[in-house]
Amino acid sequence: MMRKKSQSLLGMAFFGPALVLLTIFLFLPMILTLVFSFTDFFALNPGLTHFVGLDNFFQIFQDEEFRRAFLNTLCFVLIIVPLQGLGSLGLALLINKVTHCKKYFKVAFFLPVVMSLAVVSTLWIQIYSPEGILNAILENFGISAQPFINSASQALPSIAVMSAWQGVGYQMIIFLGGLQGINPALYEAADMDHATPWQKFKDITLPELKPLCIFVFITITIGAFRMLVQPMVMTGGGPSHSTYTMVYDIYETGTVNWEIGLASTMAIVFAVFVMILTVIQTIATRDKEEKDVDKKTKKK
């Protein structure tokens, strides 16, 4: 009828601008990335493009640089996830407990989050420099000067520590929100049952925070997978490719070397990893809610 038709028109008028932009800047690029990943498309000579099937996928996993980048990324993930995840949880628990200066603590630990990665990286180049402030502090504790980002063995962990420093406040705020959402009556009931502080933490806080923990840890993992700006600003991927990451490889292959076909293949591999993580995150956090609902309905 008339009314339905006018609603459809109105809907498309409102949704239209977004739809056009989504098509140009999300749907098409996604399809093109998928298509290019099966070709040897070279942007400086597009005429010579061939369909190469799965060749690119074999090629990148044999490619020394990509393998290195992949392992570096995993290594970065392994360092930063426990550091940032447990760090943010610990901070949140302490700040939630404290009665004074709560606001100051929240601001202090959140401050690096609002500084950009490029700014933080630029700052930490100075902090990490051989004659920098960090080495000066270490010297006061009798520790000899460290090369940090100038050595192949220390560069990646150094960047990981810096990244955790930058990001820890973000997850801390999320955990604080979660802690405030726990019903205080639970703790009062536990007090009546003579629970020790450790028991309260183990039997109330942790189970209540569990879905949030899963969410936070996977968020950090996804963020770590996407790491690029820090090595770009600080080390250029070096020394000797020790801080070269997957996204760095995609970026260089695609926009510096113009090998769009190969870059697309890497992007697909990268996207698959990130999307698997996101799906796990969604299922893990939603699963809990559905179980809760099940329990409630069974009780009824």
Binding site: Q7, S8, L10, G11, M12, F14, F15, P17, A18, L21, L22, F25, L26, L28, P29, M30, L32, T33, A43, L94, V98, T99, C101, A108, F109, L111, V114, S116, A118, V119, T122, L123, W124, E131, A136, I137, N140, W165, I173, G177, L212, V216, T219, R226, V229, M232, V233, I250, Y251, T255, I260, A263, S264, A267, A271, V274, M275, T278, T282, R286
Partner: protein
């Protein structure tokens, strides 16, 4: 009520946390203090507590800052970025807001399907398609233009979803009352929906600003010439120049952080809300 022992423990905790926060913030404190010093003083102070103390407030106190502001195009870069942020906030709120409103309140074909697609798009990492964006912008000759920079950043599935979640709970009867008051749908969106949803508009605006201000990869691809650089790319250009002293570098990164700190202190409620909402989003 706290017992005596709990009170004492609490004070110990406060002191421990203050110490921890000072240690945590040492890079920032060092940056601030030394951004006012000449390089010789920075090196001299490095091994003492003076490394964290700003110099005496004398005539040359702001030298590093003055030098950056007068000798480089940093002010211009900052103004560029502010302009881009303003444009993207306005266009972003309109485009994503209209789409969010359509998904929330207007019955058009495949609405539920579109909502699903928007939610799926939220999980696609931008890094995957940034190469194609770059290729596209280069092909249509928009490299080094404001349009080329802004266009791919307007639409944002996450913001569409955020708007939709807020708009869906707006009361329908207000829309009906407005209809009887001869208010057209588009007028309703701008004069009713947006003012009634100030909080989400503020959240989206603040996050758009932070995103534009802090973004590095996309502007570094689009902008190569000096005039249009964003502050972050300008920062890189200034700090990688050999003539820039360390004190001046620290002054630049301090200045580039100031607008963000101002935004943060003005809108901390929206920021915390936005951060917490990502942690408690459902499905």
């Amino acid at each position: 009520m706290l017992t005596k022992k709990q009170k004492r423990n609490n004070w110990i905790l406060v002191i421990v946390l203050i110490a921890a926060s000072l240690f945590f913030l040492f890079p920032v404190l060092w940056m601030l203090a030394n951004s006012f010093k000449q390089d010789a003083a920075i090196t001299r102070d490095m091994n003492s507590i003076r490394a964290f103390v700003p110099p005496a407030l004398k005539g040359n106190f702001f030298d590093n800052y003055v030098k950056i502001l007068t000798d480089t195009s940093f002010v211009r870069y900052m103004l560029n970025t502010l302009f881009y942020a303003a444009v993207l906030i306005i266009l972003g709120v309109i485009v994503n807001g209209l789409a969010g409103y359509a998904l929330a309140k207007i019955k058009f074909p495949f609405r539920e399907r579109w909502l699903m697609i928007i939610m799926l798009l939220m999980i696609v990492p931008m890094e995957t398609i940034i190469t194609i964006h770059f290729l596209f912008i280069a092909k249509v000759g928009l490299l080094n233009t404001v349009i080329g920079y802004v266009l791919p950043m307007i639409v944002n599935p996450f913001n569409i979803f955020l708007f939709r979640q807020v708009f869906v709970s707006l009361p329908d009867d207000v829309y009906e009352a407005a209809q009887l008051d001869h208010c057209s749908p588009i007028k309703y969106f701008f004069t009713m929906v947006l003012p009634m949803s100030k909080s989400v508009v503020a959240t989206v605006s603040v996050f758009t600003f932070l995103n534009v201000w802090n973004d590095y990869l996309w502007p570094s691809l689009v902008f190569t010439s000096g005039d249009l650089l964003t502050a972050q790319i300008g920062l890189n250009a200034i700090t990688s120049n050999d003539n820039t002293t360390m004190g001046q570098k620290l002054a630049v990164i301090t200045m580039i952080t100031i607008p963000v700190i101002i935004i943060y202190s003005l809108f901390s409620k929206q920021i915390v809300e936005g951060v917490v909402s990502t942690g408690s989003k459902e499905g």
